[in-house]
Symmetry: C2
C-alpha cells in the first residue's frame, strides 16, 4: 500500500505546491500583534487541511495564539494501530528587514527549484510534508497505518508560553503516544537525510548596568564618574579568554563529551567547511580552540552577546557619558550542564567583575537544558528506514546547535521520546531574509512522512499504546 501512496505523492507534485502556497501567504508573525488575523487564518487553514486528511481537529484557545489538536477517528486508522504524536508550529518569524527580500516574504515564489517565503522551511513547509502524507494515505488507503494526533501551536517563535498548559490539559490522552515526531530542523547537507539526536540547551539573560541618573556630558564628567558602557564591556569582555573559552568559574565542570565512536562518526560526516565560510560571508570560522567546527556547534557550550544598547546610536559623534548600558547574553548548554547552576555561576561571576560606582541588574529570560534523544529506539529505526525510502539514501545521525525547548517540555510532561526528522537545509535562511525550502526537500519530506507512518505502524504495532 505504501508504494501506491508514494506513487500518488510523486504524481501530484504541482498540486501539492498549490495546496501549500495559500498557507505561506498568511503572515502569521506571532511576535507582532498587528498580525493577529493572519495567525487565526493560518490556524484555520491547518484545521481545513487536516479535515481533508481525515483528522478531526479541535481549536484550543490560549492567551495569545490558538493551538490545534487533531486526532484520527477510530474508523480512520487500523485497529490496534500505535498512537503517534506529531508536533509542529504555524507561526513564523518577523520578515524584516523587508528590503533584503528578493521577492515578497508572503508571496511564495518558485525560483531555481526552491520555494521562497517566510515560513517555507520554518516550519510550515516541513509540517506540510506530514499533513500531505496523511492526506495521501487517506486518499489511497482510506485509513492511516497509525493512530495519529497532531498538535500545532502558534507561539513557537515567541517562546511557546501556551504549549505546556495545553500539553498538561491533554496529558492523559497524549501520554499514550509511543513517539513524538518533530520536523523543525535541518539535514546536514543537500541529499544527506538526517536524524537529529540532540540539541543544546540555553540560559538567556538581560544584563543592565546603571550609573548616573541621566546621560552626562563625557567631557565635563569623563574621569569623575563610572561609565556604565565602559563597565559593561569590561565585564562582558572578561567572559572569554583569547582561546575563545568561557572564563566563568565552573562553566565546563559538568560538560560530558560524546563517546569517541560518535566523535569519529562526526568526523566522517559530509560537512563542508568551505561552503559554510562562503555562505556566511566570513573570512574564516572562529570558536573555542581545540575543537572542530561541528564539535563547537553540537557538544561545546558557548556564550554569545545577542544585543548591545547604550548611549548615542545615531550618526556621527555625540559626547555623552551614558547613564545606562545593557546587553542580551545567552549561553548554549550541552549535556549535562545544569541550566540553573550555570545561571548562578554567571550571576556570581558578573557580580565579582562589577566595578565600583555602577549598579548591576540581571534578569534571567530563559533556562532550558540540552537534550539527547535515543538513537536505538524502534521509532528511530522506523524513521531511518523512512528517510532511506524518502531520499534514497541512509540517514546520518547529527546534533543541532540550537535549542528546541518544546522537545524538553514533551519529555518532561509526557515522558515521550522525540524523533527529530528535519527536512530543511543549512542555507534555508531561517529567521533571515529570503527564507526558502528546496522542492527536493518538500517532495522527499512528503515521501519520508508517508513511509514513516507506515513503518511506525509496523514496528510499533505489537507494543503498548493503541
Amino acid at each position: 500500500m505504501l508504494d501506491t501512496v508514494l506513487i500518488w505523492i510523486d504524481k501530484n507534485r504541482g498540486g501539492w505546491l498549490e495546496d501549500l502556497k495559500p498557507w505561506l501567504r498568511l503572515a502569521s508573525v506571532s511576535a507582532d500583534p498587528a498580525h493577529q488575523a493572519d495567525l487565526t487564518a493560518a490556524a484555520d487553514w491547518a484545521m481545513h487541511y487536516m479535515r481533508a486528511a481525515g483528522l478531526e481537529p479541535e481549536w484550543i484557545p490560549t492567551a495569545r495564539h490558538p493551538c490545534i489538536l487533531a486526532r484520527t477517528p477510530g474508523n480512520r486508522h487500523k485497529p490496534d494501530a500505535p498512537h503517534i504524536l506529531f508536533y509542529g508550529h504555524y507561526d513564523v518569524q518577523p520578515a524584516d528587514p523587508l528590503d533584503k527580500w528578493i521577492t515578497p516574504p508572503f508571496e511564495p515564489t518558485i525560483r531555481d527549484g526552491k520555494i521562497f517565503a517566510r515560513g517555507a522551511s520554518d516550519d510550515k513547509g516541513q509540517v506540510f510534508c506530514h499533513l500531505a502524507a496523511l492526506l495521501a494515505w487517506k486518499q489511497i488507503a482510506g485509513e492511516l497505518p497509525v493512530r495519529m494526533t497532531v498538535l500545532l501551536e502558534g507561539e513557537e517563535e515567541i517562546g511557546s508560553m501556551s504549549l505546556e498548559p495545553v500539553i498538561t490539559q491533554y496529558a492523559d490522552e497524549l501520554k499514550t503516544a509511543r513517539a513524538l515526531i518533530v520536523s523543525d530542523s535541518n539535514q546536514l547537507a543537500p541529499g544527506v537525510p538526517t536524524l537529529t539526536t540532540g540539541f543544546r540547551g540555553m540560559v538567556y539573560y538581560q544584563v543592565e548596568v546603571a550609573g548616573a541618573a541621566e546621560d552626562l556630558h563625557s567631557g565635563v564628567y569623563g574621569g569623575a564618574v563610572a561609565n556604565p558602557a565602559n563597565a559593561l564591556v569590561g565585564m562582558l569582555g572578561a567572559l572569554h579568554d583569547v582561546h575563545g573559552r568561557v572564563t566563568i568559574p565552573g562553566f565546563y565542570d559538568e560538560v560530558v563529551m560524546p563517546e569517541a565512536s560518535i566523535l569519529q562518526q562526526w568526523r566522517q560526516l559530509p560537512f563542508d567547511e568551505a561552503e559554510l565560510i562562503r555562505r556566511l560571508g566570513v573570512s574564516e570560522l572562529f570558536g573555542e580552540k581545540g575543537f572542530s567546527t561541528l564539535e563547537r556547534r553540537w557538544c561545546r557550550p558557548t556564550l554569545d552577546i545577542n544585543g548591545l544598547t547604550s548611549g548615542y546610536q545615531g550618526p556621527g559623534a555625540k559626547t555623552v557619558l551614558p547613564g545606562a548600558a545593557s546587553a542580551k547574553v545567552s549561553m548554549r548548554l550541552v549535556p549535562h550542564q545544569d541550566p540553573l547552576r550555570i545561571a548562578a555561576a554567571f550571576e556570581t561571576y558578573l557580580g565579582s567583575l562589577k566595578p565600583a560606582g555602577v549598579r548591576l541588574k540581571l534578569q534571567r529570560l530563559n533556562a532550558s537544558p540540552a537534550v539527547l534523544t535515543p538513537t536505538d529506539s524502534p521509532a528511530v529505526a522506523a524513521a531511518a528506514e523512512a528517510l532511506e525510502i524518502g531520499f534514497g539514501q541512509k540517514p546520518v545521525f547529527t546534533r543541532e546547535g540550537g535549542t528546541v525547548p518544546v522537545v524538553s517540555s514533551f519529555k518532561k510532561l509526557l515522558d515521550v521520546d522525540s524523533v527529530l526528522i528535519g527536512f530543511g537545509l543549512p542555507d534555508d535562511n531561517l529567521h533571515a531574509p529570503n527564507e526558502k525550502f528546496d522542492l527536493a526537500s518538500l517532495y522527499g519530506g512528503m515521501r519520508t512522512a508517508a513511509a514513516l507512518y507506515d513503518r511506525l505502524g509496523r514496528i510499533l504495532s505489537n507494543g503498548r499504546g493503541g
Copy 2:
C-alpha cells in the same frame, strides 16, 4: 553709561525671556538632517536679533549649516574702539531620549527659576547674554564701546567642520581682533563666577566590527563563527585596567601635570564632592586611581564609550548572533598630548586586540588638542572685572573637562587668545535630558557681557588693533 545699561537690562527681565524663547523653540539639531529647516530658521533668528542690536550680519553658506558673521558698522562703535571677536553656536545636541524630558525639549518652560529647553545653556542661552548686552548698549548708548564682530556657527555639536574654512576666508579681517570671547562653559558652582583657563582635547572614533554577512541564529552558529558583539566588548573591555587607567601603549607618555601651585589652588576651590554624588545619582565617584576628582576631570586623559549598538535591542529574548557591532569611543586629551599620535596609538592597539574572523573598521570623527589660555592678559583682567560687576563676586580660575575645539582653531588660524567666560552651571544637563539655564545665570550673564565690552573698550583702547 554702563550703569544705565545695567539698569535697563535689570528692568527688562521678562522681555529678555520672551526674546529668547523663540530661538529655543527651533530644534536646530545639527546631527540630524531632518532638522535642516530648523537650523536655517535658528540662523535666521540670530540675523534678525543682531540687526536689532545694530550689527550688520552676513549669511555665509557652508557645505552643511551656515555661519553668521556680524559686524558693528563704523558709526555704531566709538572711534578707535578695540576690535573684539565673539564666537558662539546656534546648533544644539539631539534631544533623545525624549521620554526623559519633563517638558518638551523645544518648548522652553520656566520652572524653579530656570528655563528648560535643549540649547538653553549650550549654547543659545549663553550667546543670548551677549546679543542682549549688545542690544542694550545700542538702545541706551546708541553705540558700542568696542568694535564688535560676532561669528556664530551651526556645526559645533558635530565637529565644526565648516568653521576653519570660514575663519580662513575672513582671516585678514578677523586677525585684527584683540581678544576672542567665548561663553560656552560653566561656572564652578552657583554664585561662583568663573574664568576657564584650559580644557581638554578630544579624539572621537566610530568603531565597527563586522562578521557574517547577515544576522545568524545563535543556536545553529554559536561557537562556529566569530560573534562581532563578543569581539567588540573583548577589544573595548581591554582598554582599561582595574585601576581605571587606560591601557593603550604610550597613552600617558606626553601628559604634563600642572605646576604644584595650580594644583594647590584647585584644592582650595569650593568644589563639593558630596553635592556632585547626590546630583548625579551615583553611590560614589569613580576614576583613575591616585588623582582627585577635579584632577581627573581637568588634567587627566580619559577614554569613554559614548554608545553601543548590536543585534537585538527590543524587549525579551531573541537568539540572534549579530552580523555587526559598533561603538562610539572618545578620548579626552590633556596638555601636551598630540591628538594624531593618540589616534594612531588607539588604532594600532585596537587592531592588535582584534580576534580572528571579524573585520574592524575605525573612523575618526574628531581630533583636537587640549588648550591652555593666558591667565594674566589685559582681556582676562577686563573679564574678571566684568564678572565681579555681573555676579557681585570675584571670579575663580578653573579648567574644564570638556572640549572647545574651536578655540584651538582660532588660536591656530588667527593667533588670538580666548577669554572663556562661561555662565552655565554644572547641573545644566548639557547633552542630556532636561537641559536648563538658571535665570540667575541668564541675567548675571547679560550684566557681565554688558560690563565686559565696557571694560574691554577701556582697557584695550590704547593697544594695537581697532
